[in-house]
């Protein structure tokens, strides 16, 4: 379900709006919030505030109802002014974590908010995307915009595994026998995953890893012009 969350920093009154798909995790550390829950991609919203826990709350649907659940071990969650650890959320409800007030709105005017904003939550405080990408060679996405990003933004939209972010593949990087990845490891010299088609399942992010190696000339020579 798609929600509009308007967060207001209580200290400054500054408000920002994001449109996010549930489940939605809120916390201070992007990497410490879950990327996948029960097979669903989690929207992660980072709140820069010392009073917010690394992974503070989760908003998800339970039996057709929207519910907010504290994940911080009781560091503070108030819904409509009342302290709680779990609470249903209605359209227009306010909840407070740290020094932020957040308002939930159902049926966001989707047209008014682009997908770019919807996934802005992936960006860390340096403005770079923290998602892990790469099928063979895990690396941080590191992009500073979702515009034209095939790795994590568009990938969610067109459902093309080629562009999935890494957290979609729970077995990635595990090469013991029995795991899907063991074939990769056994055949690592020929890089043949599918014995019949001998297809190599590189992703775009993987080839970008190679590109980076080839482009190491850039930003090395301080006498270049």
């Amino acid at each position: 379900m798609r929600l509009q969350l308007t967060r207001t920093a209580l200290a400054t009154g500054q408000a920002q709006t994001s449109v996010l798909e549930t489940p939605i995790a809120l916390g201070r550390e992007f990497a410490l919030m879950p990327g996948i829950l029960e097979g669903n991609r989690v929207s992660r919203l980072v709140l820069e505030d010392a009073q917010v826990a690394d992974y503070h709350t989760l908003i998800d649907e339970q039996a057709g109802e929207l519910v907010i659940v504290d994940q911080s071990g009781g560091q503070g969650l108030r819904v409509n002014g009342v302290s709680t650890t779990t609470s249903p959320l209605q359209d227009g409800d306010h909840f407070q974590i740290g020094s932020y007030d957040l308002q939930v709105q159902f049926n966001p005017e989707a047209a008014a908010v682009s997908d770019e904003e919807a996934s802005a939550a992936a960006f860390n405080s340096a403005g770079e995307c923290d998602r892990q990408v790469g099928f063979l060679f895990p690396r941080r996405c590191g992009r500073t915009t979702t515009v034209g990003c095939p790795y994590c933004n568009s990938g969610q939209v067109n459902n093309d595994p080629y562009f999935y972010e890494r957290s979609y593949y729970s077995g990635y990087g595990t090469y013991h026998s029995g795991y899907w990845g063991s074939n990769y490891y056994d055949n690592r010299d020929s890089y043949a995953y599918n014995a019949e088609t001998r297809n190599i399942d590189f992703t775009d992010a993987d080839s970008a890893s190679f590109e980076r190696e080839a482009d190491t000339d850039f930003e090395q020579d301080m006498g270049a012009s």
Binding site: G127, G142, T144, T145, D215, M222, G223, S225
Partner: protein, 371 residues
Amino acid sequence: MNGQRDRPRQHWVIYALGGGWGHLNRALALGRIAVRRHAVTILTNSSCVEYVLERLDLTPRPPSLLGKGERGDVCLEAIAPDLSRAETCDRVQKFLLQTKYDCLIVDTFPRGLGGELAEILPQLQVPRILVHRDLNPQYVQAKGLAEFVEQHFEQILVPGEGYEVPLAYLPQAQHTAPWLIRSADELMPLDQARSLLRLPTNPTQVVIICASGSAPPSLPGKGAGGLGSTETQLFGTLTYQLHQALPEVTVRCLSPQCPPQCPPELWASHWPGMDCLQMADVVVGGAGYNTTYECAALKVPLISFAFKRLYDRQARRAQQHSYEVCSVTEAIALVKALLQQAAEPRQQRQLSYTNGVFRAVELIESAIAGS
């Protein structure tokens, strides 16, 4: 622009790291005009900086080039060109994080020459302006520069490089005429330039070889054979051979040091070179930013070698603004042909060209005011 003088004086920092003349010269061209209203600091690691500083200490200084502005000085923050990448990056970061300034103008390299700006740009609280000289599109792609620039720069100034440079399509881009170290009314008087170049009093045609290159020569697709082992050596050889081939023409090689193979009596040294280029009927040089646009402004035909650079696309500039050649022989033949075409002596024509730095200063001021 009424009232600008009443605004508080600002401190502008220009990041101009990079080898050769291009970055430093362009920053000086901007800085010496900006300093009329603001204090300016130029960060440079160019190996040419000592040469420039020496020239500035001469008496008299080149008129109105770098002298005291009404409201401050241009300050050169020189980083030794032979420092390691790590040391250089560290100095830049420390300077930019510890100095107070009102805007940061970054010449050519959005992430810094060593990538050192990428970490600190997002935390700077001042407007950031990119000076967008042409860039190798491979670099733009490899480092994700389009996204980076869109996010971290309030303004992009394209100094005469046209609309086909890689980042010109971004919404913050603004175009100006090329930035030149001399405006038309500031050029050295002709008789001074003539004596500086030791030109004969009887009028002959003049060819100036602009030997500003420093790196070993590398022309894409050509072996080094016959070109000499350095770019300046190539120009030294060309000077000598041109002098042999065209004895009735006055040939001068303009370079900080006398290039190998260049007869010393044909060598002259002056900065800014634009003062001398106005005396030429034909100029031969590389297709770097300054040589190209200085010749274009002075309406002197340029014959250029498009040298390979990691970031600059000289070939593109050479094709658009000059006669491109690949060998000394080709260059000599073309000099002959162009001299035959030249009807009026260069020294008699009226020069009026636009120096883009004035517009650039206005644009930067409005970017700061609007931020």
